[in-house]
Symmetry: C2
Subunit: 238 residues, 2 copies
DNA sequence: AACTCATTGTGACGCCGGTCACAAGCCCAC
DNA sequence: GTGGGCTTGTGACCGGCGTCACAATGAGTT
C-alpha cells in the first residue's frame, strides 16, 4: 500500500490520466516542478471541511485521492450540492482567480489526500505560464458547464422522477469509476441525492422505490443497478 | 448619433469602464490592437439569434451595445434563462475555450452591436498573451459565480415569493444602469421573469400583484419601484 | 377607429411533493 | 449480545403553484 506522502501531484496525474479536464496533467514537467516546490500535501479524514462558504480564498487544492462534496447552504440549513469532486480535480479555483470569498463549502466524503498551493504562489505560476492559464480557464469552463446543467435540471424539469432519472444516468456516465456499465457504486445517502436534485429525502426514497417497482433501476446498499436505461432516458428527456 | 461602424472594441471599453469584470479593458493597448485586426463588428436587430444550443463554437462575441438573453430550452419548449448579458461582456467564451457545442442560446433583447472574433484567432491571441488568458479565466469565474447563484436560488428557495424577491433585489444591484436606487427599468416580460426564477408566467403575475398589495414593490409598465427593500430582503433570505 | 397581436390579469381545479411523525433496518462500539 | 446513532421506508395531510381557459389591457398598423 502506498503511503500518503508518496502521493504527490505527478503521481496523482498518473492515477487519473483518463480525465481530460485534468488540470496539471499535460503540462511540461519543468513547469510542474515549479508547483511541486510550493505545494503542501496533507491528508484529511472523512467529514473534514476543506473550506467554507464565505471564507476568503487562501489557495487552490488539488484532490489527489478521495471525493469531496461541494455544497451551498441557506440561512435555515437547507443545502444544495453543486457537485461531487473526484480525484484529479481542482478545488477553490474560482476563489483563487477572482479573489471573491468561497461561495460553497467543501467537505470530504471519505478520507482524502489534498495538495494545497497558496493563492499568491498559484497566481505567480499562472502569470509565468500562459499554458497553465489556459488550462485554468478550461477547468473553469468545465465547472461552468456542470453548473449550467444543474440549472437546466432544476429549472426545466418539473417532476422529481425526471430529475432523478437524469441524475442516475448522469452518474452512470460521469460516475466514479470509468467502468460504467449497468452496475456501479453510488455512495450517497438519499438525503444527499435529494440535495443534488433539489428535492426532499422522503421523495427520493419514494421515487427510488417507484423505479424499483417499474424495473427501471434499483439501489441496493450502495450499489446502483440500471435495469432499463431506455425507459430512464425517456423519463429524463420528458 | 453614432454610426454602428464607429463602435469598435476600444470604444466599447470607454462606454463600459465601470464594469470591472470587463474582458478586454485594462489590457495593454498594443495587445488590443492585435484583436482589432481580427475582429468583425456587426449589428443585429431585436430578436436575432447570435448562436444556438448545440451549435459548434465558431468564436467569441463581445457585446458592444445592447442586451442579450442567454437561455436553455428543453425538448418540449420549456426554457430557463441563464442570464441577461449586458454591453461590455463576452459571449461564447466557454465554447471557445472548451470547444464543446454551445449549451445555451443567445438572443438579442434589443438592437445590438457585436464584435466577433474567430475561435482560432482568439485562441492564438490567448496563447501569445498570458495576461489575457488570466482575464478570460476571470470572466469564466464570474460566469460560474452567477450560475452557482442561480443553482442556489432554484435549489434552495422553496416558494415563488422568495425567488422573486431575490430576483428583484438582484436586479436592483446588478441591474442595467448603475444608478440603482429604488426605481429602475425592468424590460422583461412576466414570462421571461418566470423563466429566470423557474416558475410560470401566471405565478409571476400573481406574486407581483401580491407584492404590490403589500407595498413591497410595484412594476408599472417597464419601471420597477422597490418600495420596501427590507421586507423584500426578509422574504429573500427566508 | 378598427384590427391584430403581445402581454397582463384572474378564476377554478387538481396534483405533486414538502412536511411531520413514526416504524424499521443497519452499522458500529462497547 | 445490547444500545445508540444513522439511514431508509411509509402513511397521512394539505398547501402552493402549474395548468387551462378566458377576459382585459396595451401598443403598433393601416
Amino acid at each position: 500500500m502506498k503511503t500518503p506522502q508518496s502521493l504527490g501531484l505527478t503521481e496523482s496525474c498518473l492515477e487519473c490520466k483518463l480525465r481530460s479536464a485534468n488540470f496539471f496533467c499535460g503540462l511540461p514537467a519543468a513547469n510542474l516542478k515549479a508547483l511541486e516546490a510550493v505545494k503542501y500535501t496533507s491528508g484529511y479524514p472523512e467529514g473534514a471541511v476543506l473550506f467554507m462558504e464565505g471564507q476568503a480564498p487562501r489557495g487552490i487544492m488539488v484532490l489527489c485521492k478521495g471525493r469531496v462534496k461541494l455544497s451551498m447552504t441557506s440561512a435555515e440549513g437547507r443545502a444544495v450540492i453543486l457537485r461531487i469532486v473526484k480525484a484529479g480535480e481542482v478545488l477553490g479555483l474560482h476563489g483563487a482567480i477572482s479573489g471573491e470569498p468561497y461561495q460553497s463549502t467543501a467537505e470530504t466524503l471519505e478520507p482524502c489526500q489534498v495538495s494545497f498551493i497558496r493563492r499568491e504562489d498559484f497566481l505567480t505560476f499562472l502569470r509565468q505560464n500562459g499554458e497553465a492559464s489556459i488550462r485554468a480557464a478550461q477547468q473553469l469552463s468545465s465547472d461552468y458547464h456542470v453548473a449550467c446543467e444543474q440549472v437546466r435540471s432544476l429549472g426545466l424539469a418539473h417532476s422529481v422522477p425526471e430529475k432523478l432519472a437524469r441524475f442516475l444516468l448522469d452518474w452512470a456516465t460521469n460516475g466514479q469509476e470509468p467502468k460504467s456499465g449497468t452496475r456501479m457504486k453510488l455512495t450517497l445517502t438519499h438525503e444527499e441525492i435529494g440535495q443534488m436534485i433539489g428535492t426532499s429525502r422522503e421523495t427520493v426514497t419514494r421515487t427510488l422505490s417507484e423505479f424499483k417497482g417499474k424495473q427501471l433501476a434499483a439501489l441496493r446498499g450502495s450499489t446502483l443497478i440500471i435495469q432499463n436505461k431506455e425507459a430512464l432516458e425517456n423519463l429524463a428527456n420528458e
